[in-house]
């Protein structure tokens, strides 16, 4: 509450809407990444909470809702302190504004499994402040002391049982000063936090009324589809739009940086127009790219010294190895393939613009759009829409599809919705990078890990982005090495080298980022070493986790709940993996069988420690979700290149998990924790190694290349 002018502004906006509006802005010490980003000088009239005269409580959700349940979990944080009637709680997705900056990362964004933990203090404080103001309003009206009134279930109750609803008090409360300090409840008094709470956005998502970015309707709205280059980095050399003009409903054909946009009165006109378009491309060096060549090059690099990301305590440790295991691993490019293909709607009017987009990066996309439109950030209103998944694709430091939409809108000067087709999505880049890992690990005569030389080769996600200064240190991109460099295993002689190799293929974070490949290597190698040492995989890990009670606890929970070691029907086997990421720990035991060459995962028992659990129902859903996402990729998904062209195009050749392939997932939450840690991503990393380890137990064969579809099991 260090900004009186903003407080005054918010109160005046409250007066306009006739309700209580609370908002505040806490500049965080951790907000380094975007310290250089321009901040609009004026805060728009919005805030975190609005209480209507009808008693409705509307929480502005600063994060993108794209499945993870923030439209329920964030209002729960407010409601816990507000003492309101939960049935009257609604949500609205907040537009882009510095007011809604991530409290740790300093810019409005959704990522890193951080929505709940970064809002934990912020939104409970909002609830407590509002409750205090409502109580004060009632106390003033009754001419009693604040200590003589109580709040609960949406009412303030005073001496003699006098009662006023929050709706009745909202206007008077909005005129009071926002209290500087409020006491927050201890966890033992929570009545909402920790209680399984059904999502408040379910009804609208069951009757088609929920509005996603692709559903935006505006007067005179045109639809654009873009003919993107067939090869990354290629440029338009010439085009022939003769045939396009003959397609009824097409209105514009315009060249943009990344291709040619065909605009029409509706999607089908634009799409048919694009089908009729002929473009000649200046292909450039990207046309030479081929996946086998890239893997060969990466594998060569893995055998040479790279940038040191972690030093072994004793450089000669491997010399003490009695037994050595050497393994090379290959991971493909992966598309995010959210159900809703990316899209962006823009309406420019004079010197202002409105954008509607399901963005994980409002705080990045809004200034990027302003720049592309030649406007100031405060002249661009970015409305956050529901998004049909994202998994990182809607958090692009270079705002690719938003900037593309701005470019098109500037040229055609009509309201326009830019729609990517599934083919555009699968072939459009911004993939999880491909990587090669090489590990030489040694066991001493007692079967203990003597040394571990680890090389990672792959593109850097952060190079050239605004995150580079914060997350690339001494040439090491933290997202390339996380999960190895910071392994919880007691491996003092783990040496890690990184080779960041730039390829013309644009890359991006994909659910669980670096952990999506590092966990596989760590956990399958751990299994391999356990086998080499003749030890049980759980017992072998336990010895290396003696100093890590939290990780050990989760490992033990998964082992005991899965009946680790108990007999299974013939033809079935179990595998285990445990991994720490995003401040949380997840262990999984997968039970598998083979039908011919097809892997069947019957069951996954997951143990999860994500600190204090806000909503057990959404945490369970996120664990199931993260497993389904990781399992589909582990079994089936890959993006490959031939002559620079992406060989996949849609869900028939970019396979993802389907209903009949979904295992039964049992989720066990570890008790404890005094605050929440990450939820959306940490259950993705363990699934692939758990399945691979189970398949080893079944067949004796090691998976060294994902997806597993390329394995010959029989």
């Amino acid at each position: 509450m260090n900004n009186p002018s903003r407080r005054k502004f918010l109160q005046s906006s409250a007066a306009i809407t006739g309700g209580l509006v609370i908002g505040f802005w806490l500049p965080e010490k951790g907000g380094r990444a975007f310290a250089q980003a321009p901040q609009p000088p004026k805060v728009p009239p919005n805030a975190f909470l609005r209480i209507g005269k009808d008693g409705s409580v509307t929480v502005m959700v600063k994060h993108l809702e794209f499945g993870q349940g923030v439209t329920t979990s964030l209002p729960m944080l407010v409601a816990e302190e507000l003492e309101c009637d939960w049935s009257k709680v609604r949500y609205e997705l907040a537009p882009a504004s510095p007011l809604y900056a991530h409290t740790a990362f300093g810019v409005q964004m959704t990522g890193g499994s951080s929505s709940v933990w970064n809002s934990w203090d912020q939104l409970r404080t909002v609830g407590a402040q509002a409750r205090t103001m409502l109580m004060q309003a009632a106390a003033s009206q009754w001419k009693v002391k604040l200590s003589d009134v109580k709040a609960g279930k949406g009412f303030v109750v005073g001496p003699g049982g006098k009662k006023l609803s929050y709706g009745q008090l909202a206007e008077a409360a909005s005129k009071l000063p926002v209290p500087d300090t409020v006491a927050l409840k201890p966890a033992k008094d929570f009545t909402i936090i920790g209680k399984p709470t059904r999502r408040i956005d379910s009804p609208e998502k069951c009757d088609g009324s929920a509005r996603f970015g692709l559903d935006v309707q505006r007067k005179d709205l045109h639809v654009a589809v873009v003919a993107h280059a067939p090869v990354f980095g290629a440029l338009v050399k010439s085009m022939n739009a003769e045939g396009v003009k003959a397609v009824p409903g097409v209105t514009h054909v315009v060249e943009v940086t990344n291709g040619v946009a065909v605009v029409g009165h509706n999607f089908w006109a634009a799409k048919k127009g694009r089908d009729a378009l002929q473009v000649e491309w200046d292909l450039g060096p990207g046309a030479k790219l081929a996946t086998p060549d890239l893997f060969a090059k990466f594998k060569e690099a893995a055998k040479t010294p790279g940038t040191v990301a972690r030093k072994a305590a004793s450089p000669d440790a491997m010399k003490g190895a009695a037994k050595t295991v050497v393994a090379e691993y290959e991971f493909p490019y992966l598309a995010h393939a959210p159900m809703e293909p990316v899209n962006c709607t823009i309406e420019v009017q004079g010197d202002s613009a409105q954008i509607w987009v399901g963005s994980q990066f409002q705080g990045v996309d809004q200034p990027a759009a302003a720049k592309a439109l030649g406007l100031k950030p405060e002249q661009v209103k970015l409305n956050t829409m529901l998004a049909g998944g994202g998994f990182g694709r809607r958090a692009n430091p270079v705002s690719d599809y938003v900037v593309e939409a701005c470019e098109i809108a500037s040229k055609v000067k009509v309201p326009v919705k830019v729609v990517w087709t599934r083919e555009d999505d699968i072939r459009g880049g911004y993939y999880r990078p491909m990587y090669v890992h090489r590990v030489e690990a040694g066991l001493d005569a007692q079967g203990k890990v003597a040394g571990w030389n680890h090389s990672i080769v792959g593109p850097s996600i952060l190079a050239g982005t605004p995150f580079e200064s914060m997350m690339v240190k001494d040439g090491v991109d933290a997202t390339s090495v996380e999960g190895v460099a910071d392994t919880p295993y007691d491996l003092p002689n783990l040496q890690l080298m990184l080779h960041s190799q730039n390829v013309e293929v644009p890359v991006l974070w994909w659910r669980s980022v670096g952990h999506s490949h590092t966990a596989f290597v760590m956990e399958t190698m751990m299994d391999e070493l356990a086998a080499a040492a003749g030890e049980d995989p759980v017992a072998f890990r336990r010895a290396l986790l003696a100093k890590q009670p939290r990780v050990l606890g989760v490992l033990d929970l998964a082992a005991s709940k899965s009946g680790w070691g108990s007999p299974l029907p013939k033809g079935r086997a179990r595998g285990i993996a445990v991994h720490e990421s995003f401040g949380s720990v997840c262990a999984q035991v997968a039970e598998v069988s083979l039908a011919g060459n097809d892997v069947k995962v019957h069951k996954v028992v997951a143990a999860f420690d994500c600190g204090l659990v806000v909503n057990p129902l959404t945490v369970e859903a996120q664990v199931q979700s993260a497993i389904a996402y990781g399992l589909g990729a582990a079994l089936f998904s890959e993006i490959t290149l031939k002559d620079g062209r992406v060989e996949q195009s849609n869900f028939h050749d970019y396979r993802v998990l389907r209903m009949n392939e979904m295992p039964l997932v049992e989720v066990h939450l570890a008790p404890g924790g005094d605050k929440p840690t990450g939820v959306g991503e940490p259950a993705t990393p363990p699934i692939a190694p758990a399945v691979a380890n189970a398949l080893f137990a079944l067949t004796g064969k090691r998976v060294r290349k994902l997806p597993m579809a390329s394995m010959k099991w029989t």
């Binding site: 809702e65 379910s202 999607f267």
Partner: protein, 157 residues
């Protein structure tokens, strides 16, 4: 010009006859509950009912539906299938199925079609009816639970 019915209302569609039903619904009739996911009948996000049968609207041209009855997610709770649809919706909410929600219109349309003729689906029946509907959030387990729960409530009704 093609004539057909959407959620009981007659529609005269004046656009190109090769227009997929999906885009007629979304762009001409502003019925955006039916979703675009793949355009190739691979993901099921655009599932609607055509004369009571589930079809993928993204590959169903307007020219093929002359005189037929289309029901979308916006209309399913008001048709003769409403008892089944309401049971499905109640189960979806009770089991907290949705995540991002984008595929759920299609999931629900497929589930209603399944339960309309099978009040006691086995896991294999559910796999067969639902494997064409992709959910990238991985809500499959709760979908399965919700279908079984809706089926149980329909058997009691």
């Amino acid at each position: 010009m093609a004539k057909f019915f959407v959620n009981g209302d007659p529609v005269d569609f004046r656009g190109s006859p090769d227009t997929p039903l999906l885009w007629a619904l979304r762009d001409s009739l502003q019925l955006t509950g039916t979703k675009f996911g793949c355009g190739m009948s691979l993901c099921g996000a655009c599932t609607v009912h055509l004369d009571g049968q589930p079809v993928r609207a993204c590959v169903t041209p307007i020219s093929a539906i002359e005189g037929k009855r289309v029901v979308t997610i916006e209309g399913i709770y008001k048709t003769s299938q409403a008892p089944t649809a309401n049971a499905v919706r109640a189960a979806w909410i009770d089991k907290d199925v949705v995540q991002c929600g984008y595929c759920q219109s299609g999931q629900i349309m497929s589930a209603v079609a399944l339960l309309q003729h099978n009040r006691n689906p086995s896991d294999a029946d559910i796999d067969e009816a639902m494997a064409g509907n992709i959910c990238r959030c991985g809500t499959y387990q709760r979908i399965r639970d919700a279908i079984k729960s809706a089926a149980a409530s329909l058997r009691k009704a």
